[in-house]
């Protein structure tokens, strides 16, 4: 910017000397002033497009399978510690860092938080010993590549947990097995239940239940079985197929059965595999690669000097390559893809299911916010102010104001009409215009929003009110 100004001034002075030229010079100087020419920027970036047939490339590539998983569970179940331990055992985090965290955490009276600090990075999270926002990290085994999305367990941060779950292929539910703790989490207001229901309603089908802190009950089989039975009943009622549920006893703090398999002397009754093996055996969700591009923005930030505007998020559907021109909605601004990174690794293209960072050209940061959608220009996602949804009520629903969540999107809205209640099995109408929708009932409702929001048919939304999830639904 500075040199432009200087140039303008020198031009002006030069112009003053030669009065005939003056007018023209100023006009040109002012033209020069438009430093940011977005359209040209987009055009320039679009020229770098190599027009790769991404679908073909993806099918041909024999790359390791890549999946994302979200870690959920009641507050203090040990989600962050378990993941920190996993990363440490896989040598993603080195010994020195852990030692540093250990001495630092002991200093503020939070011994045993050294693994959690790998993921809990903000001052506040560390001081309070609570995860507040999704932490993203990645690791690789011989068989597969993974992205961890470590969700907060505290009920106040459920919006963040919803955002994290919508970026995942499958879930790891962490349960604190120590005496009384499982019961607290499994209680009506506990997060074990709410998280599970949310994860399921967002569309996740595969769940691994990590029965954590089993060392505190000296690896008792009865405790593990008790939890397994109660959870199986609940998970099946929540809509998980028995074949998609697996249980793993482990201890995040000692690292037993996380990466290193459990010694038979500890728990001779356990014949299954370790957590990492279970993760490797889970395959990612089917990916809608051939659909038009949709990418929900999870974060907008300054990626560095070279990349003033960067976003991160999961590609919901479609493909993307460097040089593509995209449409950001609801702002309606065009932008071009300058570079793509997956876990800090530059890539020429990315497909649905990838959690990636994208550096953009030709757009101002003002036009992007968390929850926006980047979509293909030829087939953009509609921006709506009202929609009809089929919902499953978790709590009583009346026409009321609600918070609407879809991934990172979190907007106020109103349920204006209860159209009809539906039979859960057949989907047929039971009652027209019900007065309210009781818990466990399926229904069709009309929703209006305060501002336009990018939403399309089949989008999964969660309705919350007063800190509890009142229902989840699918846009019709």
């Amino acid at each position: 910017m500075k040199w432009y100004k200087e140039r303008m001034w020198t031009d002006c002075w030069a112009g003053l000397d030669n009065k005939k030229k003056k007018g023209k010079d100023i006009v040109e100087a002012v033209k020069d002033l438009s430093v940011v020419d977005n359209a040209a920027d987009i055009e320039r970036t679009a020229k770098t497009n190599k027009n790769v047939d991404v679908i073909k490339e993806f099918a041909a590539g024999n790359a390791k399978k890549e999946s994302n998983f979200v870690v959920v569970g009641h507050v203090d179940a040990g989600k962050s510690t378990l993941m920190g331990r996993l990363l440490y055992d896989l040598k993603v985090v080195d010994e020195r860092t852990i030692q540093k965290f250990k001495s630092e955490s002991e200093k503020i009276g939070k011994a045993s938080f050294q693994y959690a600090w790998v993921l809990d990075q903000t001052e506040e999270e560390r001081a309070r010993g609570v995860t507040m926002d999704i932490a993203q990290n990645s690791f690789e085994t011989d068989k597969a590549k993974f992205t961890i999305l470590d969700a907060p367990g505290h009920r106040d941060f459920i919006p963040n947990m919803i955002a994290g779950s919508s970026q995942a292929d499958f879930a790891v539910l962490v349960i604190d097995s120590s005496t009384g703790a499982f019961e607290a989490g499994f209680h009506l207001q506990g997060q074990t239940k709410e998280h599970t229901l949310l994860v399921r309603s967002i569309g996740i089908q595969r769940i691994i239940v990590a029965v954590n802190k089993l060392d505190s009950v000296s690896w008792a089989e009865e405790r593990f079985e008790e939890i397994r039975q109660q959870m199986t009943v609940f998970l099946t009622s929540a809509g998980f197929h028995a074949k998609n549920i697996s249980f793993v006893p482990c201890s995040g703090l000692t690292g037993e059965n996380v990466v290193t398999p459990l010694k038979p002397s500890k728990a001779p009754w356990y014949k299954g595999s370790s957590l990492i093996t279970e993760l490797e055996n889970s395959s990612p969700l089917a990916r809608a690669i051939d659909k038009p591009l949709r990418l929900t923005v999870a974060d907008v930030f300054r990626g560095g000097i070279q990349n003033p505007v960067s976003i991160s998020g999961r590609i919901d559907s479609g493909t993307l390559q460097v040089g593509d021109v995209l449409l950001a909605l609801p702002s309606g601004e065009k932008t071009a893809v300058k570079a793509i990174e997956i876990n800090n690794d530059p890539r020429p293209w990315a497909v649905a299911g990838h959690n990636c960072t994208i550096h953009l050209a030709g757009i101002d940061m003002l036009h992007l916010k968390q929850g926006d959608v980047l979509s293909s220009v030829s087939n953009p996602i509609p921006v709506v102010k009202e929609f009809t949804a089929k919902v499953l009520a978790f709590q009583t629903i009346t026409p009321m104001a609600v918070d609407i969540h879809r991934g990172r999107l979190h907007v106020p809205g109103k349920i204006t009409h209860l159209v009809r209640t539906l039979d859960k099995a057949t989907g047929e109408e039971v009652k027209k215009k019900p007065r309210f929708i009781g818990p466990g009932t399926a229904a069709q409702v009309k929703v209006s929003l305060e501002q336009g929001v990018p939403l399309e048919r089949g989008g999964r939304v969660v309705f919350r009110f007063g800190g509890v999830t009142v229902g989840s639904g699918v846009v019709e």
Partner: protein
């Protein structure tokens, strides 16, 4: 508001002259004045006078006009009320029947004349003129990156300003973006708050948020006030109260106003009562569904059966442009009162009133359960009319 003069004949035809003193009084006036009423007030108008020579000069005149109301427009943010209608009384400057818009102002008398003063309208006057200590409360509901600065008065909730800052999320390898984003957000919110609130007038300043944002902001406020030596804030420091709520959207005010921290301080206020009664209604609908009904048709039936224990009406219904419709609601209120039951008229500009409005503005808690209020043959007809009356 002060009642200057009032008159009513045996047909309930009459007028009141009122002297508004506070911005809130405009809200009362908004609820009082209806189409077809006659309003007299001070006006400034450009008048064109043709002289003997035929030239035309334009002059601003101060005069008093009486208009027959056609429409009213209220802006809660600035507390202005505009009443539009035809001039209905001979005036030296303005011809009869021409249009004029009166801007009702504070500290200037105005007179409202009605063909028929009903219970509700009289109630508004009584309510408005009841002298009480004002209990204005400042409330900021916030979450990371979003804050709504509101002013809650006895009868109104005014959204003063929304503050939105995009805060980068925490990322692997660096949280400095996030931390500086939060600081930027606090700073902007602090500056906006200083512009929007008159701290001496406020009884309490509620900071409500999920998680630790409100606490964080409160600390920021103290620090910043000390750093900049802001005496008003330092003196008002005790007034800041942090409360928990589930999100930074404005409807979370419902949660805030029913929290124990607030009710212990503001129990006697109207909005606390309104919030409580709405809460009770929603609780009843889940626990005792056949005693809690909403919607015009259902409540009408319940009223006919004399089953209503508490009737909840949003005052938006009385502002209806259709006199017939309005009369129907007024009739219902009078009927219920006659039976000795309680009627609560909720202010539609409060969050609790908004909740009631989303139910169609009308709800009733019954003294005994009624089972079949909603199934009837009129359903198709109602559907043809487009469902609920509320927009």
């Amino acid at each position: 508001m002060r009642l200057v003069k009032s008159y009513r004949d045996k047909n309930n035809n009459g007028f009141v002259t009122l002297y508004p003193e506070e911005p809130e009084d405009m809200w009362h006036a908004y609820n009082l004045i209806r189409a077809d009423d006659k309003v007299t007030g001070a006006a400034v108008r450009n008048v064109q006078i043709s002289t003997d020579t035929g030239s035309v000069i334009s002059k601003r005149v101060h005069t008093t006009v009486k208009i027959s109301v056609e429409s009213i427009d209220f802006d809660p943010k600035v507390g202005e009320l505009h009443v539009k209608g035809r001039v209905c009384e001979e005036n030296n400057h303005i011809p009869l029947g021409s249009y004029h818009t009166l801007d009702l102002e504070l500290f200037r008398n105005f007179t409202v004349e009605k063909e028929e003063w009903d219970d509700v309208s009289s109630g508004v006057v009584i309510e408005a003129c009841a002298s009480r200590k004002t209990s204005e409360v400042g409330a900021i509901v916030l979450q990371e990156g979003l804050a709504n600065i509101c002013l809650v008065t006895e009868h109104m909730t005014i959204l003063k300003q929304k503050v939105e800052v995009s805060i980068p999320r925490k990322r692997a390898g660096g949280v400095s973006h996030y931390q500086s984003g939060i600081q930027k957000f606090y700073q902007l919110l602090y500056d906006t708050m200083l512009r929007q609130f008159e701290f001496e007038k406020l009884k309490v300043i509620l900071l409500a948020s999920p998680g630790f944002v409100a606490d964080g902001f409160r600390q920021f406020v103290s620090k910043e006030a000390v750093r900049t030596g802001n005496k008003t804030i330092l003196q008002a420091r005790e007034k800041f109260v942090t409360v928990h709520c589930s999100s930074g959207h404005i409807h979370s005010l419902n949660e805030v106003l029913k929290s124990p921290e607030v009710t212990s301080k503001l129990a006697d206020t109207r909005y606390a009562k309104e919030t409580k009664v709405m809460e009770k209604f929603f609780e009843m609908i889940t626990t005792d569904e056949y005693r809690a009904w909403y919607g015009l048709k259902e409540v009408t039936k319940a009223v006919e059966k004399g089953a209503v224990g508490t009737l909840l009406v949003s005052n938006s219904l009385f502002r209806s442009d259709d006199p017939k419709e309005r009369k129907r609601y007024v009739g219902m209120v009078e009927e219920v009162k006659k039976c000795g039951a309680e009627v609560m008229i909720l202010s539609s500009i409060h969050e609790s009133g908004q909740r009631l409005d989303s139910l169609g503005g009308l709800a009733a808690m019954l003294t005994y359960p009624l089972y079949d209020l909603d199934d009837d043959e009129e359903e198709e007809q109602a559907e043809a009319n487009g469902g609920e009356p509320q927009q």
